[in-house]
Symmetry: D3
Subunit: 311 residues, 6 copies
């Protein structure tokens, strides 16, 4: 055996020093816990699982739109059986996640299980209405995009619809006191579509996002009915002032109000608790931090002039 | 058993009211069908499956570039066997999806199966040429990005290449009368890369998209050879006028023509049926709605001046 | 049997002409190899696998943060066993990939295996420190986002954290001479989050990216501590000049230096080897190609004035 | 590189001679076809798949006994949904297999599909009765085995029950003209339990096989009600004579008739078209080739004496 | 559309009459429950799952013999991590099954969970001793079979060892008051090996079963140390008398006692509460229902003579 | 919190004492190694994996009989591609297992890899002949069983064929110096069919086993052409004398020679190095330990008379 063989054999024997690394990783975790005032690691998982919520939402999507988002070989005769069976799976799985969020990982007490069951029962009962809301979103997309060939195509392909399925579920969870599950749900859509809607945002019927990549809609945004927005639109907080103030007061309304029938073109940035009046049209790449009255037609030129005046 | 136990037991017994919810969900689906003038739900699935198209495209990618996008343990000796075997799987699977799109979910008649077979046979025969097109795209990326270390790295990692594999397949399907399968294919790339190319867009050889997130290329865009674009570039329709006109006439050329050897930097927005002359360079964040002659070098300053003049 | 039946039967019998297509696809691959000066296809896979690196990174994430990113049913008692066991899997898998990159697909010689083992051993030993770096990033996100409710939520949901787990691993690999594995790793994060950080970028402690879609950070960017950036921010090379020069000299510093405690708002584009002085704030959509001193507060208006002056 | 390295490298380069072997394997297959008078291989699969029948039977078992053989987390509220949904899956899958058997692998003509649908519809409608038959088998096992603690245990654990679920399904298929699917079904049970019941065997209610390994029941056996048998019992054809006759006439009754309330102990071998009279008891290891009247109690000694006399 | 088409279309539309069948299946289940004095189906699963016990036993086998029955790529350095991690999984999974058996499907009360935890803790602590017992069985096989080449081969391949791993686990569960889990465990081995050992059977150290198919060992059998048996051996109850008595008194000792160092050859049938004295050898196919003193050498001839005398 | 809660909480906190158990299990493993004269556990897996051999054999079965044992949706056009591709997978996988057996778990030296490659290459080249052998076995089954309806049914369903596919592979491996892989292969068939053929047994063309459960064929058995046997037949060693001799001399011919055209009926036990002359027929349950001349017709009565004489 050559010298080189021997050296390699020694290296192999060393392995990865797993004992050492595992011990040091535990030390780092304990340090972190100590910094956050916790004396020890929890006994079991404390928080919901992103992977399981992904399954819940996918199963719910299939149960809501069985012939389009359900399994490829579903037949009409067994549709209700499929819906009932998968709904049950999804709701039971959701129940566990709700217990985790409510109980902070403690084994669910009777009280927490009761609370969680009520929330999930309530959620289940609103599914038909949620279906109707999404039907309206689909119709809005079909009407709003000249390239859409059928409502089925919209439901099957449009990232904006995928984002809204997630958002309307996430928003319900958010309002029912489950901000973490809501956030996990909306991040799943964000990852898949590039559309980042905070689950707290209130969005009216018949909402349509085209293309969608880069859209950001903040927690306290309020959007009316029949609103249409394009890729890279931001409905954000006007952070400049906030930054100086140190810490923002949480939950404070700080994102735009967009009234009914507004269209906002690609790349527009709308910041702060301002109001875009009903029926307005906001041009592409516009930077807007002031309210505009109903029926406004804002383009980059307008804005730049305003900015120029202000400068 | 305590009072609290009893309440919880009652809640558990209630379950999710599945019968009720399933019935109401069916009612909502029927409402929707009635609104769209259909008397009943289809007997079987009517539309292609996004999940299956994802498998088709992934399998085709492996068959086209076996040593790079195929299975990790492929050996040269069995390469052709692998290619033939997986190609067959992909084409048979595609045949089913084509039947679904052509037949609108009806059981494929003999006529529809014949038509679908011809389309898939034709598609199969163009795969070698499609491979060559993609080879050119890979070379374009390698030449266009100073950070690229090898052509293999480009094929393995670059989201722009992933988007083009999807697009060149999707465009073929689109031209063969399968707009829905085409759209599903392009949305798969959109979700994975943030690059949204409409399958109708015509794109010449040696096309390179760097970074890519937020790129949008519209249905009637025409792109020449050796064009290079960066993230967040939009080649869109000039919607402002269209909005007033009510409904756009479908299929009308409404997106830019980009001639050979043009470079478009990040964030540039180019709207309407305008022409970017050959060899031009469009700067970052430029907002452009007018044609520019060959060899132009447009930067934000130019544009803002123009806009300023116009204001 | 009708005439139509006969025609269809003939079509079916034709099949896909697999022999023909497989042969032509091989010809195309050989052409390509010839163009790149290689006489024949390699005997076995030459390059690392993206799919396997995805597993490596996911397994490492679980090993680093077992209770949050590990399996849903992990218990504290078996945490270290889980960490040790999965770490071993991840490191062995990484070893194979490192051999592939170092050996360019040749069967690993003794020398290459020795080199690869050393790299992976070294990587393993830095995992605890890498954990600490990520803990600081989590704290930065928690402090930087008024909507964040707990550090656990940040780790579980924030795309910026997911991007940083990938980047801090990718950067380590990049510095250890594995640019391809590093690139694959960062593209995995890019696909999932829309955040595109080149593995070469140097990023200090407590870095926070909010929302993130469309962020691009270039290879030679240098970022200080406690920096915060928002969606669609670009730290890029100033390509305009470079384009004219033909080919950029590789590795040349060409991206911005961002000093400590800088905040860069959404959509800002910062190009070239300029320096953003410590504590500066760069407003949304700002286009910046010149250095600014510490404590600067740059907004769109400032920039437009500057541009106006320059125009 | 040493000499040994070179030799190994050469071996590696040789690979497996796949081209050669594949070609020769095809030649062997063609030879075989020619010997059987077929000019070419079929275009597609001609025969049912054992793997798919295994899924069909497992799914049916779950649909028949959802709380015991269904998924571990099934709840009563969704039981019917589960049953309907999985039944539909199983029946559709079975339909395909029936088409394959009836059509000998040809694409199913309209006639064949019609015939197959009728068979499967008929099968589906007899499932409730089949359930009742199996309930009786379970009760028979519970009563017949002093070690059985509950009917649930019997259904969950007893190989005899597993064999009967398969047999009662297989027998139905056999009588409906599907001997191949029937045989596949019974071989699945044979492999799992060591109990080999020909699907043609007619078995009355409340049948119980204990332990079961090595039991063989022939095609034309007829078994009454409340019969109980133990491991390694054979109800076979009396082959000695048959052997001399050359070829047996197919379908001819050649296996025993076992009347009601008979018990046959382990290892007994009963051969030929003889009748075991009602209420008889056949002792362990008995070798029996003559009919016995009702109420007989045959033990090894009896038999040996008989044999002795005959010797 | 031809007449034939229409008929088929009608058949297709009929579907499977799922509603009808599901309803009738429910009726059959309710009938059954009524017959057994239960007023309604349970709310949730009442009984352990065979599929889950199969995973538990396979995981335990890997944890006991990691380098042989564990994953193919296990390395020595991470062996303990693997053992700890998978043991935890197996024990938690077992805990759930134990709760199911103890609680008869009711949600586990605190008392039942406490009892279950104790049983599983106790089981876990005996694993090292169970390992030693199995080591002795392996040695016995190695010594007893001239064809065995190494102890590793024995552990890897011998069905007798597989049966004993299951039996020693099943016997522990049986003694701890879990007859159903014990029975499920032993049936798993029965299905895989054809060896049917009742979990109640007491088996001493260094036990070896060769070939094994058809072996049956009854509930109250008692087997000494260093016993060796071959395929198709039965240690059963002498049912002849029992049959006349109507119902056997449960748990009554009714199977043989086999003392130390006995060898029983293939096909021997030993029935009733008799004793095979230490060191005896029982020949192939022997039928034995009387005790034999230590050191006996019983062959078929002996037995037949005895029988002859008795006849 | 009640007292009962507290006790349970304490139990939960105790967990499973994993540290303790893992340590003790390691101690037991070390003890075992010490007893066998090995100073430490091996660094990596030393022995082949049963799970992987199962995949190898299943893949080979599909490659040999693609239209019957291959994937359900295989089409004739891609048959050779499928065969080549899966053959390559199977052979590479087999190569690894051969290296493990030859190298006793040491990293394969160049010499061992060379030897392993030669064995696998040789094995690959005999596959066409192996196919022919199996074709003859299929024909023998078809001719030998009046219940067989087609050769396809035989290949698809008959456990005897499944056993012979395994045996003919296992026997090849056995003769090539791989007794462990051979044994693993034959045990896979044993578990699935209850037929236990030692890989060393030499079996001529056109062999047929009907039913099969309980068949045992020993290592040095030699079987001629056109032999037919039934369930529970043993071709074993005459152990009675051997037992007294202490240890058998390994490899010594000790099992029967069965000449051409012999039929052996169910349950016959044939022991020792005796010869069953060509064309003989051995009746059911016969116990035979002496050679019989060609053309013999042995039944239980004959034998018992012989035994009687001897008694």
């Amino acid at each position: 055996m050559t010298d080189q063989h021997l050296k390699l054999a020694a290296l192999r024997q060393d392995g990865w020093q797993l004992e050492n690394i595992v011990k040091r990783l535990r030390a780092v975790r304990c340090e972190w816990l100590a910094q956050h005032g916790r004396s020890s690691e929890p006994d079991e998982r404390e928080l919901p699982s992103s992977k399981i919520m992904a399954e819940v939402v996918e199963t719910l999507s299939g149960a809501l739109f069985p012939m389009l988002l359900g399994p490829p070989d579903l037949r009409q005769e067994s549709e209700d059986f499929y819906v009932g069976h998968t709904l049950d799976e999804a709701l039971n799985s959701l129940l566990q996640q709700v217990c985790l969020e409510l109980g902070h990982g403690l084994r669910p007490s009777l009280e927490i299980e009761r609370q969680a069951r009520r929330i999930v029962q309530d959620f289940a009962l609103t599914l038909p209405e949620l279906h109707r809301l999404l039907d309206d979103d689909v119709m809005a997309a079909f009407r709003g995009d000249p390239a859409a060939r059928s409502v089925d195509e919209v439901l099957l392909c449009y990232p904006g619809i995928r984002a809204m399925i997630h958002h309307r579920i996430a928003h319900h969870l958010f309002r029912d006191g489950l901000p973490l599950l809501a956030r996990i749900t909306s991040e799943l859509a964000h990852s898949a579509t590039g559309i980042d809607i905070h689950p707290g945002a209130q969005i009216g019927r018949s909402f349509f996002i085209d293309h969608g990549t880069g859209v950001v809609i903040g927690e306290t945004a309020v959007i009316g009915e029949r609103v249409r927005i394009y890729q890279a639109v931001t409905l954000g907080a006007k952070r400049f002032e906030a930054d100086e103030a140190g810490q923002l007061i949480k939950g404070q309304p700080r994102h735009p109000i967009v009234e009914d029938d507004v269209v906002i073109y690609a790349g527009a940035t709308i910041l702060g608790r301002i109001t875009i009046g009903a029926g307005s049209s906001i041009g592409g790449n516009v930077w807007l931090t002031r309210s505009v009255p109903p029926g406004s037609n804002v383009t980059q030129a307008n804005v730049q002039n305003q900015v120029g005046n202000a400068g």
